[in-house]
Symmetry: C2
Subunit: 335 residues, 2 copies
DNA sequence: CTGAAAGCGCTTACAG
DNA sequence: CTGAAAGCGCTTACAG
């Protein structure tokens, strides 16, 4: 009728509940024969430990908390999908929380998940250095994804922002472009700063000047990026190429290009997005490989769940330039 | 140091823990003055009830379970975002689970969430009639979204699949099309069957024949849809318009059109998708308004959380034809 | 209107 | 290698 408990398993196996608990938690110092008998009872009764009781007794929930900017975003959508699949494979589940890029909400969401008793956290952090670090708990494993935010004492999994941007801009330069715009969200984000640095370094490496007029770092989202992209691209002396530091900004640029009915402006977007291949021309991107990033993040969390004092590691995954057409356009002639 | 408990609140307020519990659960029969004193103590100590203890005592977790086909899907991404926002607003959190369109996994995911003790469930069901119904729990509120699957004793929130498809196909007919293809996933889905019926009825209403050659219902996903769409559109006597029953199928069609370098085939997709407006021509869609659907689903769940025996309701939200260009193309001439 | 008691199903700390 | 006891922080069922 009702769910079997640890007492039912103990009775069935002929041992005390403590021994069942030992088997459940993989503690050693139990005779193999005993382990087998307990396992058999567990299987026979289809017993599942009660997570609430386990939690109350002093353990953690078999649950991973995932904190991201936004839940309806293709990049984080991939991350959520991978984390959930991996979690379920090991019998855990996933509590999701979004920050909406708000510092206060970021903090309250993390506190809520910790209070719930999640066993570990995967977080796309928010803020800078001490502020970003301070809201992360120390009692449970935390893996930081996407951006480092100056956090040095947690595992971090991110991509080569500087190198990826550098490669993209070198690519545009190699195709003949000299006036290349940079459009990004606020430079509050370390990822945006890194990508901007990669952009600047690529220009300097090629002996080109970094023109502040061609740099826009207030494109909070696609709606904000659209008018800024329009303003950047409308003039007669507009740049011949654009580097968009995120898909959202890229979307704003694409809308502006559509509005201007221009298909001759070269474009590379940092971050792949669905339907990029269906744009006209198809959009060249720097692929962040969110699936690989999420897999790596989960690997690190699983490792730290087993060994909480493992050395802190920073994993920097390579990006991949995906040439689809828009990044290979030559500079247009003067109009 | 450690978190305050109900005993701390009781001591601070000068009442027993039972009275604190009453205030916490909004039970009536407590003097207003007492409520105020307890509330003040709660605020003063920044007390948060321990969910695990509450659960173990016999209550439910302050948690909503959300079960969908896939977590990285624009439609469900919107649903997840809305559900999480609403849940957090009422102090609850969200466990997500994906089924991958697999019946066994669907069942195990639901069982897992129920075992965890979620207070309620929002489910995009899977299967048909008795099979779909059987896996849903009866002890907690369940709201079914997107498709009914013959489930009659649970709240359902879905859209006008038949009418939306009917309107879309009438729209194509009004623009002069006579040979209109239907591309959909398996007819196992009631939504696909409803949309197919809407398609057929629109043709019949216009005195047109329903040609089985123009109906394809084995486009499981975008990769499967692509070759099927290619085969459908390549011949000289190909249909002049396509109705795609989901965004995934629409994506396959768009790829095929790109491959064939054709911009003269009319297209309406059931379900909006990001960047539809950036296609060439921009894609006309039947908008399912996932945000409104998710809001309605949450409203129903919240209602049923308060009143578990409320009458079962089926909510059918209207769709909205969004004309962007691809659905307004005239039939091309013979080649 | 308020409270004392028992119990939910585990875990930790201690014995043997 | 195994177990008896206490306790985690709530809730339900029962009193008064």
């Amino acid at each position: 009728m009702s769910e079997p408990t640890i007492y039912d398993v103990a009775r069935e196996a002929g041992f005390s509940i403590k021994t069942v608990s030992r088997v459940l938690n993989g503690e050693d110092g139990v005779r193999p024969e005993t382990v087998a008998r307990v396992r058999a009872a567990i299987d026979h009764l289809d017993y599942h430990p009660n997570p609430a009781a386990r939690r109350l007794g002093g353990g953690k929930l078999p649950t991973i908390g995932l904190v991201v900017d936004s839940l309806n975003d293709p990049f984080f959508g991939e991350v959520i999908a991978v984390v959930e699949r991996r979690a379920v494979e090991m019998g855990m589940d996933v509590l999701v929380a979004s920050t909406g890029m708000d510092a206060a909400r970021n903090q309250s969401q993390i506190e809520r998940l910790v209070r719930r008793g999640v066993a570990g956290l995967i977080v796309a952090p928010f803020g800078e250095g001490q502020a970003a670090r301070a809201v992360l708990p120390d009692k449970i494993p935390v893996v930081v994804i996407d951006r480092q935010c100056g956090i040095l004492d947690k595992d971090v999994v991110r991509v080569t922002d500087h190198e990826g941007a550098h490669e993209a801009v070198c690519h545009l330069i190699a195709h003949g472009h000299r006036r290349i715009a940079f459009l990004g969200e606020t430079a509050e984000f370390s990822t945006v700063r890194d990508r901007l640095a990669g952009y600047s370094d690529a220009l300097l490496d090629a002996g080109l000047e970094v023109d502040g007029q061609l740099i826009e770092t207030t494109c909070w989202d696609a709606d904000a990026a659209y008018p800024l992209a329009l303003a950047m691209l409308a003039p007669a002396d507009a740049p011949t190429a654009v580097f968009a530091s995120t898909p959202l900004v890229g979307l704003g640029v694409l809308r502006a290009l559509k509005r201007l009915d221009r298909q001759d402006v070269a474009l590379v977007v940092f971050g792949d997005f669905p339907l990029a291949e269906l744009m006209t021309p198809p959009t060249t991107v720097v692929d962040q490989q969110p699936t690989a990033l999420a897999e790596a993040a989960f690997d690190h969390l699983a490792r730290r769940l087993e060994d909480p004092v493992a050395a802190v590691v920073e994993t920097v995954l390579p990006t991949r330039l995906v040439q689809r057409g828009s990044g290979e356009l030559p500079p247009r002639g003067p109009r």
